[in-house]
Symmetry: C2
Subunit: 202 residues, 2 copies
Amino acid sequence: MNLLFKISCGLFVLCAKAGKEESGCIINTFLQQTAVPETFSITVNKRNFSHDLVEQSGECVVAILSTETDFETIKRFGMQSGRSVDKFDGIDFKTTSIGIKVPYIKGIMGYFALKVLKTVDMGTHTMFVLSTVENKAFVESGDALTYDYYQNFIKPKPEIKTIERTEKWVCKICGYIHEGPLPPDFICPLCKHPASDFEKVQ
Amino acid sequence: MNLLFKISCGLFVLCAKAGKEESGCIINTFLQQTAVPETFSITVNKRNFSHDLVEQSGECVVAILSTETDFETIKRFGMQSGRSVDKFDGIDFKTTSIGIKVPYIKGIMGYFALKVLKTVDMGTHTMFVLSTVENKAFVESGDALTYDYYQNFIKPKPEIKTIERTEKWVCKICGYIHEGPLPPDFICPLCKHPASDFEKVQ
């Protein structure tokens, strides 16, 4: 049993804006740190565009996902870069009190609008320690999406017939599966780890 | 809906030792921070005895709980102080490679033995950033215990007939219920918040 997969965490959409640039990404590292004062933390990969936007603006919004989340939402925010696409294009959104957009679609239970108090360098990632400016629930009830639930019930299962035909590579870090040959400069679209962290599915 | 309760997290036993002193406590703040190198974080209330032991020794063990965990285990490690009782008294345990005991009982799925890399002052709490020395699974499979699952399925429900007779106070931070009058110096046995964070159940 891989104990790393047994460290429970949720799944969230981190939204951020700096100047005219605005984006979002999927994170699984939102945690309440202290109750008095109410502080939180997020840890974000430095390669993510949203990371830079949080760093530049000192602000962000974290939306809490429910088990009603569609895989399309994970793909939209987690599997493409905000450097090349507008992740809010074609979906409903609200603009929070700090001017940052938050998706207003199925699966979004509500959000915390947050201000950076402190940054901690974690090597490949930055941890931001945050205080709340505003929080708002979009729904009356619902079950929060955990990373475990996502892996078991939302992420599409690979189809057996294509496994037999196509070369597949699995990211040892996050479990993302790439189909076809793996270029040496490949970066995992989900967790941003390099090709060296992939192994061929036999 | 209280969005704070929708930030998913697990439940863990933090075990620590300094000199001859050894203890453990319940935490819900164990998270993987980075994959390369593999780092983790825990955030621990400064009032906890285990906090001081981690700070003094620079080492700890985090055991991962499963949904098989008994409420007795939560009470043993989470609702009494290691300053006055030996939390390992009367239960099976293993001694890890770094010399720290870990409970070896129903509900413990395995553990990470960890070394402190960095400490971050979070006010009421300290965050410890850690690297792994060893990890070991005790079981082949199982579902990790989340804080949400604990609240819904493991924590005993208050009995309606006693609510009618006895004064009750609920901790606004963690939901712990105290029966009877609340002394002004009362400290929540679960989250260590003071009497001012309790409100009377009507």
